[in-house]
Amino acid sequence: MSDIVIPRGLVAEPPAPPSTRRGLWRWLTTVDHKDIGILYLWASLIFFVAGGIEALLIRWQLAVPNNHLLSPEAYNQIFTMHGTTMIFLVANPALFGLANYIVPLMIGAGDMAFPRLNALSVWLVYFGGFILYYSFLSGGAPDAGWFAYTPLSEISYNIGNGVNYWDFGLLLMGMSSVLTSINLIATIITMRTPGLSIRRLPLFAWMVLVDSFLVIMALPALNASLVMLLVDRYLHGGFFNPALGGSAVLWQHYFWSFGHPEVYIVILPAFGVYSEVIPVFSRKPIFGYEFVALSSVAIAVLSFAVWAHHMFAVGMGHSLDAVFAFGSMLIAVPTGVKIFNWIATMWQGSIRFTTAMCWAIAFIVTFTIGGLSGVAFAVVPIDWQTTDTYFVVAHFHYVLVGGTVFGIFAAIYYWFPKITGRMLSERLGMWNFWTFVIGFHLTFFIQHFLGLMGMPRRVYTYPNLPWWGAFNMISTIGALVTLVSVLIFVWNLYVSARHGAIAGDNPWDGWTLEWATSSPPPPENFHRIPPVRSRRPLWDLAHPEDPDWAREGAV
């Protein structure tokens, strides 16, 4: 017993040796958090292309009324796959990938707490994605929508194998998310470098921490209901089948008690990104650090009290509707606090309009539109009109694209130099940024009007009613502009990874620890970690005459 040495922090496994392998074998066997982060980001990019092609097919089909390009069955598979892909295989892996790569560096750790578990998590994502997409080859992809409402997803109404592949794929990804989150929590709690107290934790790490708790509380609801659906489909159980004494509405409660926290799961790490990018490019510390951090906790707690706002049309009764309306309105408050703090961070700053910063600024404006239309959905009678229409399609794309996707773009422009050692082209970045923002608003703003004009979501075609064709055509043109933007982005990644300017350790003059090591960092991450005496250790190093710790002492 006496010869067992417990290393600093929680290390349940022997530390993994730095990989000396090269090529494919290295990537397949790696347990380095940086490699795993990159693997996550690759998964996200690959599936972003797949989900994007699906989005273009949707818009192509809807460009004109009474279109027969896609059969209704094909269209239903494509929109189901688009939603499932973008949530589970693009947003989740991108954010977990960034968290994996950046968080250990930010807190001065050598790796994640459980490196092998980390490798398992990323490969579960690939495996889950493979199973989901294999459904196309096995006779048909899932076609019950990304939330697979029962009894439409039950065997009585859906005899194909698509929903089974969807179910198994999501189970694997769900397990992966839980494992990664346990890993991130253990890492952030136990492996911070001395001096990096929880009140000095960079906000990206803060949000990832809150996010991880959200995942381990929300995902089990999904995983359990997925198993129940499998029991219904394979073993003729009747959980969600009214014909066998089950309840069709039960699935909705289970799914959304995961599904709404999931919305915050994919937005909180993006909030973390903005909370890093905006201060650095405003040359000021974040305004109201404690309020930005604690409002995330408020969002996480409240996110479990809002799920039934997806179900106001179900006929739950006014009292229950009102309770969930109350929760949904309340959650706007901590979100608003964040928005105002970011704006106040820019106030009196010295703003550098790098591509990363442009994404963050565009986010504030775009996300505000989505957040405000979200408040409209909490107003129950308005929801009774707008839910399940193109108005809601517009709303959640403003939130998920304007919030999460803009955040991922900001993060990639911000941390690409750290990850590759080379700068992304700012010129291509600006083209990427402006085409995307214009294409996005062109695609989705007009969908608010389509919804208000009576267009339901998830229709493979529509009658030639006044203006419907014209508005849908504009939306499709917007999607094509977005396509151009994504091509520019991929080209930028490709060219810059090869020929981009050499980044150096700290190209943005950042203040958190990831900028204190080389770009890319060595396998062990740090040769020497600077002392941490405040939230901005690198500021303290550069400004010994005006260090943050003096200010913090004053507060």
Partner: protein
Amino acid sequence: MFSSSPFNPVSPQEQVISHLFIVMLIILTGIFVLVAWLVTYNCIRYRHRKGAPLPPQRTGLKWLEIVWTALPVLLLAVIFVLTVRAMHHSDPDTPQRTPDIVLIGHQWWWEVRYPHAGVTTANEIHLPVGQAQLVEFRSADVIHDFWVPQLGRKMDMIPGHPNRMWLDVTQTGTYLGVCDEFCGAQHAWMRLRVLAQPPDHFRNWLRQQQTVPAQPTGNMAEQGRHIYQQYTCGNCHAIRGTPQNQVQVAPDLTHVASRETLGAGVLNNSPQNLAKWMRNPQAIKPACYMPDFHLNGQQVQELVAYLETLR
């Protein structure tokens, strides 16, 4: 543009929703303008200038945090009160009596029953103007959703979970509706019409629907009736006055020729379109449950002649 939208209400219930919606749009637009202005102001006023000194390293202001937490809370409290009030006005309580209309969702059509009159029709709801109708919503298979924007709230139609609400239309006219919960392959063509009529017109219509259609006369129509029997159309469809007058798998055809649309809105109802539908429904509404019977042109014409007698 917004002629058949929630902003063109034809019922007191939708009037309430429309009014609240407009109030909310004004409030939300105001907030958006404030945020967008602050961001734009910052971007212009505080953009980096060459040689400028580092900005003051301010880390927060407690009173400001309190202000932008408290003000939204107060605003939301007001909105919440407006919401609850509007909920009760736009969806009044329903009694436990026999409903005036029972609407049953099927993949992918609407069954409309009038329990008091014993009438069953499909894909269009006739209503008397100015007389609130108690409607019950059910489903025969998966979840559907009743949504006619100009009339008021939408309501899910859930198997094993009947819902009720009032339909109280105050203007004559035809109002377009649609299934608004994804319900499978032909969700797109599960469209609905509400025809609000003056009460005496409505009574006449109901009386007409109660009659049993006369035996067809004329060679074509009689032949058509024969084909209808021979091809077992009655296994799914009901026509009163024929042996198969009870089945509810597919739309009741007793007065099919008097309806405005075919296939839940996929075609306008005319003899030409009915013939088109009969020739191959799968070409018009792919994946619907009516198979292609491979009828020849002669048979189609005869069937159409028969069905056109069902007025």
